[in-house]
């Protein structure tokens, strides 16, 4: 490959690979690099070996430098797909319709589990249509939680999911799955998970629970959870969830117990 034949400060800019490959919105650089190399009938390792052999990249170059070079090879603008946003945000497959059926992954901190535009699940069951409750939950997530930096893989959302999972029975899960025509546990828990997360962490539910629960801890927790899980029948026993919730409230209310996320991760273990 020859260098771009422009002169001046950008003389060393690499010419893009011959088969141009579009980067999807939210697609991670790792996913894009894989696709770009594949479209050009090669692989990442061969390209990086070539870069090293021809002196265009040093061996063990830092990830920022590698991404810079790959952006040039893809003809991408300089700021496209900067380094991973947060390590705790899982890179997931992008919505099938958004990526036109092409397998691409990316980190999207502002999204939950649903592509609102195409009304499809993106995780854990991608490509399946969502019901109205999941759509509402996704909108609530994007409106209340994502702007506050709470992404779907954060400790708070995982804690909320754990609470729902502990409070419901297998029948309850089956009933939700039947309604949404899905077989995923995570999908069944999603609407209630979001509701609990919003009330607990976005609307200062921790403080309210701490005040209500003095002297009546378990009942306060149980009633709080029961009000937030749909169709919680007489067979449901939310006491396990309540116990976890009140333990968390107590830990968060006490001083010297570390950050909120640390407390929640300890509860999740």
């Amino acid at each position: 490959m020859s260098l771009d034949d422009r002169k001046g400060p950008d003389a060393a800019v690499l010419a893009p690979l011959p088969v141009r490959t579009k980067r999807f919105e939210h697609e991670s650089m790792e996913s894009y690099i894989f696709r770009l190399a594949r479209e050009n009938a090669t692989d990442r390792r061969t390209v990086e070996t070539w870069l090293i052999e021809t002196g265009r990249m040093v061996e063990h170059a830092p990830i920022v430098e590698r991404y810079r070079i790959w952006r040039q090879l893809g003809g991408l603008p300089r700021g496209a797909a900067e380094a991973p946003i947060q390590e705790t945000i899982v890179a997931r497959r992008l919505c099938r319709r958004c990526s036109r059926g092409i397998r691409a992954t990316g980190q999207i901190p502002s999204w939950g589990l649903v592509c609102i535009k195409h009304e499809l699940w993106i995780h854990p069951i991608d490509g399946i249509g969502v019901g109205h409750r999941a759509m509402a939950a996704e909108r609530d997530f994007r409106h209340h939680l994502a702007p506050k930096g709470m992404h779907i893989d954060s400790a708070r959302l995982r804690f909320a999911q754990r609470l729902v999972a502990l409070a419901v029975t297998t029948q309850w899960i089956h009933d939700r799955q039947a309604e949404d025509d899905s077989r995923s546990l995570q999908a069944a828990l999603y609407p209630c998970q979001i509701r609990i997360a919003i009330d607990l962490f976005a609307l200062d539910g921790i403080r309210e629970l701490a005040e209500e629960s003095s002297g009546h801890r378990h009942s306060a927790g149980e009633s709080w959870i029961s009000r937030r899980i749909d169709a919680l029948g007489p067979d449901e026993e939310p006491w396990r969830a309540s116990s976890l919730l009140m333990q968390c409230v107590r830990d968060l209310s006490e001083t010297g117990r570390g950050s909120e996320d640390d407390v929640l991760y300890r509860q999740l273990r």
Binding site: D4, A15, P18, V19, T46, T49, G75
Partner: protein, 344 residues
Amino acid sequence: MAIPVTLKTWRSYVMDSPAQPDRLNAHRLAALSESALSAYNEDRIRWLSSDVVLETPDMRHLRRLWAVLRAEALFSTSIAAKSLAISGAPTFGKTTSALWIARDHERKERERRPTVPIHDYQPSLYVVTPPATTPKMLMIAFCNVLGLPYTRAQTAQELTERVVMVLRTLGTSLIVLDEIHNVQSNRQVGAEAASTLKLFAERLNCAFVVAGIDLDRSPVFSGPVGEQLAWRTMQYEMTSFNYGSARAREEWLLLVLSCQELLVLARQDESDLADCAAWLFDATGGSIGRLRALLRRGSIDAIINGKERIDRRALEPFVMVGERGSKRSPMTPVATGRRPAETA
């Protein structure tokens, strides 16, 4: 003009349509300001250096052969190679013709498919065979033109597979391979190169134009595979102009006058080069390449020194030594600086 050797420079070359500057007469030329004159001179020199294709008997034949080949390539379902071989001695216009064919095809294909983004489609690919080429080096030449990375450890077969896949993705339907005489004359290597071209032909739905010196003796067209290729190839031998008959002399004169039309010199008269057509033939050996180079250099000199006119006397310092057919040794000066009437 530098041969375009990357996709980017190739696409610029295809899209570029140099416009002939207006020919100003001496009076208007003198009226230009210094900066305007400088800019005008630059435009003219740029124009003189551009690769304008003239209508010659060779080009008329090649246009006809190319039209047939292109129609075959576009509409035939046969997997047999559709190819044209342009052979001839150096400076006879093989590269100019090959470039013209590639550019013509790309322009027409892009016009046929105007909505396809420029980077997603590459109808023509022009590749120059490096000297002493082996099949692996030939594939590396393709990779370099396409901008495909490759490592030292990759074999010719691996590179071929990758190039084929990328050309398919880009929709390439014409491959022009110039200087193909550079393939090593070793029989084994020649056979492998022929196999590579045959593989391309079978895997890609595209036409081939190969150009080089003495292709009838090239190792690419010898051996079992090479002979298969040769049978499926239209062959055209470019020759120099000759001066032996009235018709030949008329054709040469037409060529000279066509070249003169391109010169854009303020004081050039129509008869200036017509009067020395015979000398021009002698000085260039009937080669269109040498003729154009001679006139280009003389014109640039006339622009720089302000004389704005070329004739035999102005051109003599630029006659190249060692021209084909000359009995002089390469180091014997052709021009003495004296007028013909003074040499006695």
